[in-house]
Every structure is written in structure tokens, then in C-alpha cells.
């Protein structure tokens, strides 16, 4: 026994010594690595891990942030803006009904695996998605396909939306034609979605067989989507590694890229889930940039010489009112009273990062269909009081849900915003009972089910179309709001079937005015999610849709 013990001890000490000594003599080399590493590797900290490396299976921004560097869709938003421009398609056009979409594809584009990009490739992708079966049809896996092009060839679930996608035909090498059954507000915007980015057909063939099994109590993402180097896109970077343990995805510059080559040799995305964590990592020089900067930090970082470029706003935060939950909210006066009671200016002044704006309607001004003629509800506590007493609701008691442990691009500090709004309402004589809930699923569920009389929620646009905003709430009856008002519903839907962009915009403007007259809830603010970069970085054009292309990054 004793012998054995001693042996163990000796072994242990031996290793320890080895490590320390080794470390000692090699530490120098380590330093050098750091030195020249920063030249060609750009490290960006994201708040969350990607879900998969196949954007088609994902619905979260973190996945897209990574895949966007490697996969391209037919269309994209212009760098730093929110207008559509060509990506893999140079030009695109549709018939008047908006059901036949023709894309002139970019020539001599190669996939990372050397395959040529052409019309067949495009159709291969679209048909692949359209023919999805099994748990691929779950909206947890194919959310964006379903929300833009509806269901599948064979819907296995009667609840699934009916297919709107009809066919994709390769007219010639460089012309692809995609047909849909109904005109849709999601087009052409949908064609820019990262979820509909084009992969090399070779890769698709190869991994088609791998099923996303709904096994026991969870959906297993297909194996290929969890490994680097399986799929091949056309983007400026290739994904070379995904070290899950280290929460790190690394990409290498693709020299065969058709467009402007990537500025740095290697891109690395690392996950740091807390705001402080990301900020401190930047301050400590461990990373070169990060997203979702806490508003409180923007100023600090700038003072310390870091770069915090301002994004245009492309989201809206609103104060939701569930009429189903609280009868008083059915009275317009009460809703108006609340609207007048809230000091939205103060939120912008004190809570939001630079560039934040008061929201006058349920879409930011950057979106086509934004109207200046909507009814505005200025801050006026006295008026609020008057309206309440008029409605016989003085001393109104109401429950107010807010999410904890989360920051959303449109909602930097939920609890602070909540407390400000609450104290406003208190001043107007409305008794608020706070009800904090964990963001997901508690909060989102409660809100969806309309069990939160007052609540805060928001939306970040997927692409530049008004319906992508107002459509998500007011296209029909929704428990979250709990009201039926055909006038509103019709106004909102009017635009969605409209093929002609100009007419569509008009319709949306009208819709916004109708909505704000009815005032189902109170749009609070639009705030730009802040993004920060190190001093020695030439940052990319920051995008309102948070669709930065890190290929633009270079080091000073």
C-alpha cells in the first residue's frame, strides 16, 4: 500500500514539475505567437453559440452571423444599409403578379469545394428544402423556409403552413426562375435570408441522407451541421473549425472568392455570454470586437479609445397590451392614457445607446412604409389622468410583465426600462404590479398566451419590408393582443398581396396610421444594438440588420 502510495505521489510531482518547467521555457514562445497572431486573425466575441453550421436549419442571429461570412444568398442588403442588392444574383425581376421571380446569376463563381455555381445549383438548394421530410419540417429546424415560402411538397403535419413555393427551373446556365403560388410580402426580401443561402449541390447530395431525427424528446441536428468543412458556400471565408468546448468557430480566407477578398487571413468567433465578460475581454485586449454592447458601456469604451460605430435602427420596442387579460384595456381612453403617461423621451435620453429614437409606430423609420402622419401621443401625465378618470378607471391596477436575464437588440436593459415606465405609470395614478419572468420560455410563452396585461417586447426586421414588422402582430386575431378589429387587419393585409413596391409602401403607411389610431399597444423606442471594435481595427460597415460582413475588416 505505502509503496504504491509513494509511487503515485512521485508520478504526480514528476508531471507537475514537467509542466512548470516546460511552461517556463516555452512561455516566451507563447508570447511571440500572441505578437504576430493579432496581425492576421480577427477575433469577434458573440453573445451566444451558433446552433448549427447549416444556416438553412437555423433561426438565430448567432448562427447567421457566422455562416454569413461563408455562405451567400441570391440577394443581400447593401453594405451598411437596408436596401436589397444582388449577391449571387446580379439582377432580379418578377412578373406583375409577383409570382415568377427571375434571377440573372453571377458568372464564374466557385464554391469552396471547387464546384461551379450556376442555376442548377440554385434549384438544387431550393428543391432540397422544398422536399424536406420528417423533423426537418419542424419549425424548430426550418423556421425561415416556412415563414417565407410556406410548407413542403408533402406536409406531414396538417398544421404546417401550405406550400407557397412552386418550382425552380434553370432557364440556362446563369438564369434561375423561381415560381410561387401566391404573391407574398416576404418576397423578394426572403431571397436575401441567410437561411436560404446557396450551398454546393455536391455537399447537399452527400449529406441529404443524414436525417434530423426527432429522437425521444429532442430534435437532433444532423451530424454534418455540427462539423466544420462539410458544407461549402461561396462566401469570402471557409469555416475551418468549430471547437465547441472552447466555444470558438474559426474561418479561413477563401482565395477563390469572386468578390473583394477578405481583409484578414483568419476570422474567429468566440462566445462570451455576459455583457461584462465581452466588454472586459475587449478592454483586456483578448478580442478585437464584440456585439450587443451594453448602452452603459458605449461611452466608457469610446473614452478609452475603442471604436463603437452607431448602427441605424432597424427594430422597435413596444409596450404590449393584452385586452383579453385586462378588460380596462379594451377602453381606447385607457390605452391612450397609458400612451400619454409614458415618458419615452426619457428612455431614449437615459437608457438607450446613442442613436436610439422614440418609436412613433410599429416600425422603424428605415423601413419602407414608415409614415409621418401617424397619431403621436406626447408625454402628458395630466392628460393621462384626465383620460383615466373620463373612462372611470382612476386608481387602475394592472399587471406588468418584463423579462429578466436577457438583453435583446431592441431592449438593452429590460429591468431599467420597466422601472422607468412603471414610475411613469405610477405618477399617472396607475398601480402597477411587476411580474418578472425568465426570458425564454416563461416570458415569451406568457406573452404569446396573452396572459400579460402589460408587457415589453420588440422585433428586429429580417429584411426591409413593412409586413415583416406589422404583419407579425396585426395580420389577424392574436392572443398576445386579444382584440378583433377588421379595420386594422384589412389595412395591414392590404399591402402584403400587393406586387408593386410603390403601392405596397403606400398601403403600409396607411396601415401604420390605422394602427396608431386604434393604438393596440404603445411603440416605445427603436434602439441601435451597439457593436464595438478594438483601436487597431478598421471596422466593417455596420448594418442596421446586424448583417456585418467581416470580410471588410482589416488591421491598421
Amino acid at each position: 500500500m505505502r509503496i504504491l502510495k509513494n509511487r503515485a505521489v512521485r508520478a504526480a510531482t514528476a508531471t507537475l514539475v514537467a509542466v512548470v518547467v516546460a511552461a517556463g521555457c516555452s512561455s516566451e514562445r507563447g508570447k511571440d505567437d500572441e505578437g504576430n497572431k493579432s496581425k492576421d486573425t480577427f477575433v469577434f466575441a458573440a453573445p451566444g453559440d451558433p446552433a448549427a453550421l447549416d444556416p438553412a436549419l437555423a433561426s438565430d442571429g448567432e448562427t447567421f452571423r457566422v455562416t454569413r461570412q461563408s455562405f451567400e444568398a441570391l440577394l443581400k442588403h447593401e453594405s451598411g444599409g437596408s436596401d436589397l442588392t444582388g449577391a449571387l444574383a446580379e439582377k432580379w425581376d418578377s412578373n406583375d403578379k409577383g409570382t415568377v421571380w427571375t434571377f440573372d446569376l453571377r458568372k464564374n463563381v466557385k464554391f469552396h469545394d471547387g464546384e461551379p455555381f450556376n442555376a442548377e445549383a440554385v434549384c438544387a438548394n431550393y428543391d432540397h428544402w422544398f422536399n424536406w421530410t420528417g423533423s426537418y419540417q419542424s419549425s424548430a429546424v426550418s423556421y425561415y423556409w416556412q415563414s417565407t415560402l410556406g410548407g413542403f411538397k408533402k406536409n406531414e403535419d396538417k398544421e404546417a403552413p401550405k406550400a407557397n413555393y412552386k418550382s425552380c427551373t434553370a432557364k440556362d446556365e446563369n438564369t434561375a426562375v423561381i415560381e410561387v403560388n401566391e404573391p407574398s410580402a416576404n418576397l423578394p426580401g426572403g431571397f436575401s435570408l441567410q437561411a436560404l443561402a446557396i450551398h454546393s449541390p455536391k455537399a447537399i447530395k452527400e449529406y441529404e441522407k443524414q436525417d434530423a431525427k426527432a429522437k425521444g424528446d429532442a430534435i437532433t441536428y444532423p451530424k454534418y451541421s455540427q462539423e466544420a468543412g462539410t458544407l461549402a458556400g461561396t462566401g469570402p471565408y471557409e469555416i475551418t473549425g468549430w471547437n465547441k468546448g472552447n466555444k470558438e468557430v474559426s474561418l479561413k480566407r477563401f482565395d477563390g472568392y469572386w468578390g473583394k477578398k477578405g481583409g484578414v487571413e483568419k476570422l474567429v468567433f468566440r462566445t462570451i455570454d455576459t455583457e461584462d465578460g465581452r466588454r472586459q475581454a475587449l478592454q483586456a485586449g483578448d478580442i478585437d470586437g464584440y456585439d450587443l454592447v451594453a448602452p452603459a458601456d458605449v461611452d466608457t469604451l469610446e473614452k478609452e479609445g475603442f471604436q463603437v460605430p452607431t448602427r441605424d435602427v432597424f427594430n422597435v420596442l413596444y409596450l404590449g397590451m393584452a385586452q383579453g387579460k385586462h378588460k380596462a384595456l379594451k377602453k381606447p381612453e385607457v390605452r391612450q392614457a397609458i400612451a400619454h403617461a409614458v415618458d419615452r423621451e426619457n428612455l431614449v435620453k437615459t437608457q438607450l445607446p446613442e442613436g436610439g429614437k422614440v418609436a412613433t409606430q410599429f416600425m422603424p423609420e428605415t423601413v419602407e412604409g414608415y409614415s409621418d402622419k401617424v397619431k403621436k401621443y406626447e408625454f402628458d401625465t395630466a392628460k393621462a389622468k384626465k383620460l383615466l378618470s373620463g373612462a372611470g378607471e382612476t386608481g387602475l391596477k394592472i399587471e406588468f410583465c418584463y423579462p429578466t436575464e436577457v438583453t435583446r437588440p431592441y431592449m438593452p436593459a429590460p429591468q431599467d426600462i420597466f422601472e422607468s415606465v412603471k414610475s411613469d405609470l405610477d405618477k399617472a395614478g396607475i398601480k402597477v404590479t411587476p411580474k418578472p419572468l425568465k426570458w425564454a420560455p416563461d416570458y415569451t410563452d406568457a406573452v404569446e398566451a396573452g396572459s400579460c396585461a402589460l408587457h415589453m417586447l420588440g422585433w428586429t426586421g429580417d429584411f426591409n419590408d413593412g409586413f415583416n414588422f406589422i404583419g407579425t402582430w396585426f395580420a389577424g386575431y392574436d392572443k398576445q393582443w386579444g382584440f378583433k378589429n377588421e379595420k386594422v387587419f384589412d389595412a395591414v393585409n392590404a399591402g402584403s398581396k400587393e406586387a408593386d413596391p410603390a403601392a405596397r409602401t403606400k398601403a403600409y403607411e396607411k396601415a401604420n396610421e390605422v394602427i396608431m389610431d386604434y393604438l393596440p399597444g404603445l411603440p416605445l423606442t427603436s434602439s441601435p444594438p451597439a457593436i464595438a471594435f478594438a483601436k487597431d481595427v478598421n471596422p466593417p460597415e455596420v448594418s442596421p440588420l446586424t448583417q456585418e460582413n467581416f470580410g471588410e475588416v482589416t488591421f491598421k
Binding site: T15, V19, A22, A23, C25, S26, S27, G30, E34, K37, T41, V43, D49, A51, A52, S59, S135, S138, S139, A140, Y143, D157, E159, A160, A214, K215, G216, D217, A218, I219, T220, Y221, G241, K244, G245, N246, E248, S250, V268, R270, I272, D273, T274, D276, G277, Q280, Q283, A284, D286, E405, R408, K438, W439, A440, P441, D442, T444, D445, E448, A449
Partner: protein, 334 residues
């Protein structure tokens, strides 16, 4: 000895079964489901319903439980709802990090705590005693997350002595053999990788060590005080032995027995309890993963994890007992 191991593992089975039932009933009481956790604000009722149906979460609990049992029987812990990967893989992926962290923390706690406790006992009532005891107590009283933030702010951000997050720097692409970053470096000869990993360990380990340290200091102190009063120490003195021998062979060897048990249990709690530390230092271990699992209602992960922890505890207790039987002849295992 082997029989002991086997017996313990058999005892484990009923415990696990009971535990799993409790868990299942418990977790089913949790509001909200994975679906909305996945989709966030994009979740609509219809979607949630569909996903739940697909996952069979709409079926009665006992059916789900039966399915679960069948899975477990095949040694399948299920699949994480959030990451869509097998729970087992997720654990094996992240557990080494936590083990590394926990071991480092315990090492610190023991290396610092035992001597402190010993000398505190020797100079009972002296300034060393008072300072070391109340100092270690202070360690317990600082909320871990705050301690972590402060340490990080000072040593990582301001002084830049240590990395502020993660397990490894980006530049160093270490080859992964065992998953234990430090060890791997030694095995593969990538010593800079080892060093790098060590540096990343320092701050989290110190943070995590604060509580075990306090416990160990106090235990050592108490137990040394007790042993110093024992007759056999007096005997040793009566033999005129050199004080080094008296301390080492007669005082410490006896005084450390209870400390060993404590260390075992502490390690266990660290392995399961590094949630705060890991999330402050974005340390890719099991702790932060579990925290996300809780937020995301990732039932399979939670169930799996608790099963995992249960087993872990039995194993640790086993190890402690074996270690004990090595040092304390009175409790030989037969």
C-alpha cells in the same frame, strides 16, 4: 475491495430510479417548453404545439417516463433540446474543463489551507490564528460572482496579467487528446498550450477556491487542535523525538484524516457547482452549460446532468473511502 465497488454501484441503481421519477414529475411542472425556448419571440402558439407534438411532450407523463426509461436502459441520456446534440457528447465535451477547474481550485485550497490551518492551530489565539481564520471566513462571505468580477477587473483587465475569459487563447490551436487542456499540452509536447491553459485557469480557480479554502483551513485547524491533545502525541514527545517527526508522523498524519473526506466532498460540490464562476469567466465547462440548459428548459440535459451528478457523488465517496482505507489502518476495506 472490488466487492465494495460493485456493491456501491448496485446500491446506486434504486437511488437513480427514484431520483429519475422525482425529476420527471418535477420537470413536468416547469412552465413553458423547449419549443418556445428555441424560437424566442418568434414562437407562435401553433409552432409550439407542433414542436411539442413532434417531441411527444403532449403525451401523458408516464408514457414519456417509460420512453425515458427505455432510453436510459440503452445507456442513452437523450438529446439536448438546445444544441440538438446527444447529452452524453455534450457532457464529455465540457466535463474535462470543469474537472480541470475543480481540481485546480481544490489544489489551491489544500496547498494554502492545510498549512494555514496547521499553524493557526499551533499558534492558537495568536495573530496568525485570528487572521488566517477570519481571512478564510471572509472568503466565504464574498458573493462568488462579485469576487470573480473584482479579480477579473483587477488582474485581467487593468493589470492584464491573466486572460479574462475562456480556456485557451485563440492563437494556440492545441491538439485535443484527453480534453484536459493542461494535460494535453504535456502529452503532445505543446508546452506553450499547457502554459496558456494554466494561465486561463488561474483566476477562475482562485475564485472557485475561496469557499473550499475556508472549509479546509477550519477543519485542519480544529482537527490539529484535537490531535495535539492526544496521548500518543505526548508519548512521541516522551520519546524525545525531533519535533519535525512529532509533527509530521504523529500530528499531521492523524489530523489530516477528516480533511481528506472534506476534500472529497468539496471536489464533488465543485464539479457540480461551478455555475457562477464559469459563467463570469465564460469558461466552457459544464456549469455554464447547465445554466443555459435551465434557462432553455433543456429537460434531457437537466435529467442527464442530475443522473450524472448522482453517479459522480457515489464514485467520489467510493474514492474517499478507498483513500481513507489507505491512510487509516483502522478502516481497512475487505
Amino acid at each position: 475491495m472490488l466487492r465494495l465497488v460493485v456493491r456501491r454501484l448496485l446500491q446506486l441503481i434504486p437511488t437513480l430510479l427514484g431520483l429519475s421519477v422525482l425529476l420527471f414529475l418535477w420537470l413536468n411542472r416547469l412552465p413553458g417548453g423547449p419549443a418556445s425556448a428555441i424560437l424566442g419571440e418568434r414562437a407562435t402558439e401553433a409552432e409550439v404545439a407542433r414542436i411539442n407534438r413532434l417531441l411527444g411532450l403532449d403525451e401523458p407523463v408516464w408514457i414519456q417516463y417509460w420512453r425515458f426509461l427505455k432510453r436510459i436502459a440503452q445507456l442513452d441520456l437523450g438529446t439536448s433540446v438546445r444544441t440538438g446534440q446527444p447529452v452524453w457528447d455534450e457532457f464529455t465535451l465540457r466535463f474535462p474543463a470543469t474537472v480541470e477547474l475543480a481540481v485546480a481550485a481544490i489544489l489551491i485550497a489544500v496547498v494554502v489551507g492545510v498549512p494555514l490551518g496547521y499553524f493557526a492551530a499551533r499558534r492558537r489565539g495568536g495573530w496568525l490564528d485570528v487572521t488566517s481564520v477570519s481571512g478564510s471566513l471572509l472568503g466565504i462571505c464574498i458573493p462568488v460572482f462579485f469576487l470573480a468580477l473584482v479579480l477579473k477587473g483587477i488582474f485581467a483587465v487593468n493589470l492584464g496579467l491573466f486572460p479574462s475569459y475562456g480556456r485557451q487563447s485563440t492563437g494556440i490551436d492545441a491538439t485535443d487528446v484527453t480534453g484536459f487542456a493542461v494535460l494535453d499540452g504535456v502529452l503532445t509536447g505543446e508546452f506553450d498550450a499547457s502554459w496558456d491553459a494554466l494561465m486561463h485557469l488561474v483566476l477562475p480557480a482562485i475564485t472557485l477556491a475561496s469557499i473550499p479554502l475556508a472549509v479546509i483551513v477550519r477543519m485542519t485547524r480544529a482537527s490539529v487542535l484535537e490531535v495535539l491533545g492526544e496521548d500518543y502525541v505526548r508519548t512521541a514527545e516522551a520519546k524525545g523525538l525531533r519535533s519535525s517527526v512529532v509533527r509530521g508522523r504523529h500530528v499531521l498524519r492523524n489530523a489530516l484524516l477528516p480533511v481528506i473526506t472534506a476534500v472529497g466532498l468539496l471536489t464533488g460540490s465543485l464539479l457540480s457547482g461551478a455555475v457562477l464562476t464559469e459563467s463570469v469567466f465564460a469558461f466552457g465547462g459544464i456549469g455554464s452549460f447547465i445554466r443555459q440548459a435551465i434557462d432553455g428548459r433543456d429537460y434531457p440535459v437537466l435529467v442527464g446532468f442530475i443522473m450524472f451528478i448522482a453517479m459522480l457523488y457515489v464514485l467520489i465517496n467510493l474514492v474517499v473511502d478507498l483513500a481513507y482505507s489507505l491512510i487509516d489502518p483502522r478502516v481497512r476495506v475487505h
